[in-house]
């Protein structure tokens, strides 16, 4: 009689069923499609848009599978990617700028499968073509801003509290904090208390005092620095998401990698130029007090002599190159901006951008504008480029910031959270600026450090080759095992096949993106999963040679092999785990696949084969074993 418990049979059956169902969606090949969504302000997607699209496709002789309205978007499916491209071009031309036309791979997985959460594995860029960017976030800029604003805050705090100070200056070395110089030890302790009360994120320490100079240093706490860094990345991520959504790519992958890198994968996009323009432009707005009018004598003179007042910057007007002096003090930055939309100024018909600020920005803006009616306020547009130079054989990147004033207007009245910026060159410029602003400003400049463009034909090649390699590898091992271990080999074959099925099912369920290294991981898993069966079969053979009865040989074979299999797999798992800790996507995908593969193979190679072996041999009297 078999000693294999019933519940284990049930478990094996359940796992096999689970594997088949959740691996099944991958058999449905997604269909190339084009998705149309309405931009803000455009007429919603309805039957008329559908007719328009159908007519446009017919006029261009593009044969579409079906054109349907699904909720707020329209979907047209095509037979292949070539027709898809032609279709998208025809649709773009017909619909104009009010609609976003995006490539999409429409899942053909039946509804009942989707209802239970079964879905196919998303394909990596190397398998379907697209653009990949790796961006580096430059945090130093944020720290600069933060320290500068603390310095400003401390100045106004000391003034409010009537504590006399000699100077409040930021240390020239970034991250070294702010030096407050006071005139007496008494003032210093008062200032220290006041600052500590008002700003809990600062660490205060008394510096060396000489004569009547009493130094107090305020350094931003490491905790706060970490949270600033985290917020910076988070904000940059959401900014990127917004900008890329405007680009109309379906299912873009935008995620943090490591401490200050962001990965952007845009499947199906073949021309990265447009994406790069949006991603690469590091534009922020700064609202600053203006000093005089653009081109007034003071500004002209400053431009000529280079004598710029210490509290001011000399910038030029965007486009016209007229010099203008702007205060160094920043009222509100693009970070505090929640919305921006382009429109037409009703008074003079010029293009404008309507801006909405968040609460903290609104308060600062109200404070400033109340006190400064009829004074100028400049809008500074800050763009950051990176300069790469070779210094001592090493690449050194230095940020180069270009600041232009896009607008220097007189404040007509106090305002807070809602106002408009006008004086923009054209409607197009206004809408471009609004798009960038609405996308949000980056909290810190980003810089593309890696870019990969994978053609769709290469993706198709890769997936075909990968598929062949998996099938062939599997077939060869199945054959070899069956020949070498006969019936036990066949049982191991069933297990190996189900290992592939369950592995694919688990990967699909947790949504692991399938990549070429991932496929390599699957093939390697198949090659190594058979190891457990080799161990078991060799043990069973050994037991038989030592004179055990067939049933005893099976039992002892499984028992003795188990300890070895466990040790071997745990060590292997440690190796796979290390692979998943690597930041880079490709290696991570391989490691994750390997790790899941080791776990599934532990089950299929041991429990599943044991169930089958018990089922085959359980109720019979045996003289020999086919192993």
């Amino acid at each position: 009689m078999s000693d294999f418990p019933r519940w284990k049979y049930a478990l094996v059956a359940l796992v096999m069923l689970f594997g088949v169902i959740y691996a099944l969606p991958n058999a449905f090949i997604p269909q190339p499609a084009v998705q149309v969504t309405a931009n803000r302000g455009a007429a919603p997607i309805d039957a008329s848009v559908q007719q328009k699209v159908a007519a446009a496709l017919a006029a261009q002789h593009v044969s579409a599978g079906e054109v349907v309205v699904q909720g707020d978007h329209l979907l047209a499916t095509f037979a292949n990617t070539d027709v898809q491209r032609m279709g998208a071009d025809a649709m773009k031309a017909a619909l104009g700028d009010n609609y976003t036309v995006a490539f999409k791979l429409e899942s053909t997985v039946p509804g009942w499968l989707r209802a239970i959460g079964a879905r196919s594995m998303p394909l990596g860029l190397d398998l379907q073509g697209g653009v990949h960017f790796l961006m580096q976030v430059d945090q130093s800029d944020v720290l600069d801003k933060q320290e500068n604003s603390y310095a400003d805050d401390i100045r106004s705090l000391l003034r409010d509290k009537n504590i006399h100070y000699e100077s409040v200056t930021r240390n020239a070395v970034r991250g070294q904090g702010i030096a407050v110089i006071l005139r007496s030890a008494d003032d210093r302790s008062k200032a220290s208390d006041a600052i500590a009360n008002a700003y809990s994120d600062l660490n205060l320490a008394n510096g060396p005092s000489t004569g009547d100079r009493f130094v107090l240093t305020a350094v931003v706490k490491p905790d706060k620095l970490r949270s600033i860094a985290r917020d910076t990345i988070t904000q940059n991520l959401s900014t990127l998401r917004n900008r890329i959504n405007a680009l109309g790519v379906s299912e873009p992958l935008i995620q943090q990698q490591g401490e200050n890198h962001i990965v952007v994968d845009l499947a199906g996009v073949q021309d990265p130029a447009e994406a790069k323009k949006l991603i690469g432009t590091v534009a922020t707005l700064q609202y600053r007090p203006g000093i005089g009018q653009p081109g007034d004598p003071r500004a002209q003179e400053a431009a000529k002599t280079g004598n710029i007042p210490p509290d001011a910057n000399l910038f030029y007007m965007r486009g016209t190159q007229v010099p203008v002096l702007v205060s160094k003090k920043i009222i509100v930055t693009g970070n505090e901006l929640t919305n921006a939309s382009s429109g037409v100024d009703t008074r003079n018909g010029s293009a404008n951008v309507n801006v909405t600020l968040n609460a903290s920005g609104a308060k600062k803006m109200l404070d400033f504008t109340t006190d400064n009616i009829n004074k100028p306020m400049a809008v500074v547009y800050v763009e950051t480029l990176y300069d790469t130079k070779m210094v001592n054989g090493k690449e050194v990147r230095t940020p180069k910031t270009t600041e232009t004033v896009i607008n220097d207007a007189t404040i007509q009245g106090a305002f807070s959270n809602q106002f408009e910026t006008n004086g923009l060159g054209s409607q197009k410029e206004a809408s471009e600026l609004a798009l960038l602003l609405k996308g949000g400003a980056f909290a810190a400049p980003v810089d593309i450090v890696e870019e990969r463009v994978i053609g769709p034909s290469l993706g198709k090649d890769n997936i075909d080759k990968g598929f062949n390699a998996v099938l062939l590898g599997l077939a060869l091992v199945l054959l070899a095992a069956a020949i070498y271990y006969k019936l036990f080999g066949l049982v191991a074959d069933i297990a190996l096949f189900f290992n592939l099925v369950v592995l694919v099912a688990v990967m699909s369920l947790i949504g692991v993106t399938l990549t070429m290294p991932g496929i390599a991981g699957i093939v390697l898993t198949l090659g190594m999963a058979i190891d457990a069966n080799v161990l078991i079969c060799e043990r069973v053979r050994e037991e038989l040679r030592n004179g055990s009865t067939p049933h005893a040989a099976i039992r002892a074979g499984y028992e003795k092999a188990w300890a070895t299999i466990l040790d071997a797999n745990v060590t292997h798992l440690i190796a796979a785990l290390a692979l998943t800790t690597m930041g880079t996507g490709a290696i991570k995908g391989f490691g994750v696949t390997l790790m899941i593969g080791i776990l599934t193979s532990l089950f299929t190679s041991v429990t599943l084969t044991h169930a089958f072996t018990a089922l085959i041999h359980g109720h019979r009297k045996l003289k020999t074993l086919s192993v």
Partner: protein
């Protein structure tokens, strides 16, 4: 079917002087190769620009090089990607000064259109299949990440074996592991195969594979020590290797078969991976048989180190 004589008793341990001498020689040779020839780091590590170009008709690598030289690209690395119609072209961004933007930004689109124009001047049937740009910083980061991962793997495995087996097993396994990685890297340096991200993944997987192999032998050593009444270490170790020999070789063959399938049918993207894995399987299998156990013997493994600890009742354990 059986290929191996199950009663075989090949004196592997008897050859230990030679096998260890060869292993040490291989390690030193590998270190020398890595130091002198160096690994042929791919784009992922060096940074730069890589383009994959497809030709409608077969093309000679030399012609592609000539076309690029004519266009003014200084030191391109041109390689054939399996077959005669697909080539990969790698260059440093400074090789195409025209494409460096004012701000020092790399304009991949510009570089690729420049290169394609050069190729078109010679052969109009070239089409661009993919283009990559990686900055040198990212490459350097990958190198350090890879080394950290390798150290993490080795320490993790050492810790596990220390707990599950014994100190000597952990040391022997890790020493053999280092041998395997070094020799695999040495062979890669010798044949100058491109070392890219997938090859790095493969080297780390080799560690996993090879430790698997060693653990199986070690497991048998522990078992035989516990069973044997009179435990002569050399004999036990030798018997363990012989007992597991069939499994060691069959598993290597099976894994080798799948990796060969990947090599021949998986396309250029996984070529490096499969080759590295095949080298690693060979090295790992040989070291499991010839290197790991001699080290264990020298470290002085003995029966009493491996007996399960009986705490409850020593009296009971002493009874027959």
């Amino acid at each position: 079917m059986e290929i191996f004589n199950h009663n075989s008793n090949i004196p592997f341990l008897g050859m230990r002087k030679y096998s260890i001498a060869i292993a040490v020689f291989l390690m030193l040779a590998s270190i020398a190769l890595i130091a002198v020839k160096g690994l042929n780091y791919g784009l992922d590590f060096t940074g730069g620009v890589s383009l994959v170009v497809d030709y409608a008709q077969p093309v000679q690598i030399a012609d592609v090089r000539a076309a690029l030289a004519k266009g003014g690209v200084a030191h391109p690395i041109v390689q054939s990607l399996g077959g005669t119609r697909e080539v990969s072209i790698r260059l440093q961004t400074k090789d195409d000064p025209a494409a460096l933007e004012a701000g020092g930004k790399v304009n991949l689109d510009r570089i690729s259109s420049d290169v394609l124009a050069m190729l078109h001047a010679a052969r109009p049937d070239a089409t661009l299949k993919s283009r990559d740009f990686v900055s040198a910083e990212v490459g350097a980061e990958l190198k350090s990440d890879g080394s950290v991962a390798a150290v993490f793997v080795i320490l993790g495995i050492m810790g596990y074996l220390w707990i599950r087996f014994e100190r000597r097993f952990a040391i022997a396994a890790v020493a053999t592991e280092i041998h395997d990685v070094l020799v695999t890297l040495g062979i890669l340096a010798l044949v100058q195969r491109e070392f890219d991200m997938t090859v790095l993944a493969s080297v780390l997987a080799v560690i996993g594979y090879s430790i698997n192999d060693k653990v199986v032998v070690f497991d048998r050593i522990r078992e035989l020590f516990r069973l044997a009444r009179k435990a002569e270490p050399e004999e036990i170790l030798n018997r363990s290797i012989n007992n597991t020999l069939s499994r060691t070789i069959i598993t290597s063959l099976f894994t080798g078969i799948t990796m060969s399938a990947l090599f021949f049918f998986g396309g250029p993207a996984v070529h490096g991976f499969a080759v590295t894995m095949l080298i690693g399987i060979l090295v790992g299998t040989l070291s499991s048989i010839f290197v790991a156990s001699p080290i264990l013997l020298w470290l002085g493994v003995s029966k009493k180190d491996l007996m399960p600890v009986t705490k409850e009742n020593p009296e009971l354990a002493r009874r027959p």
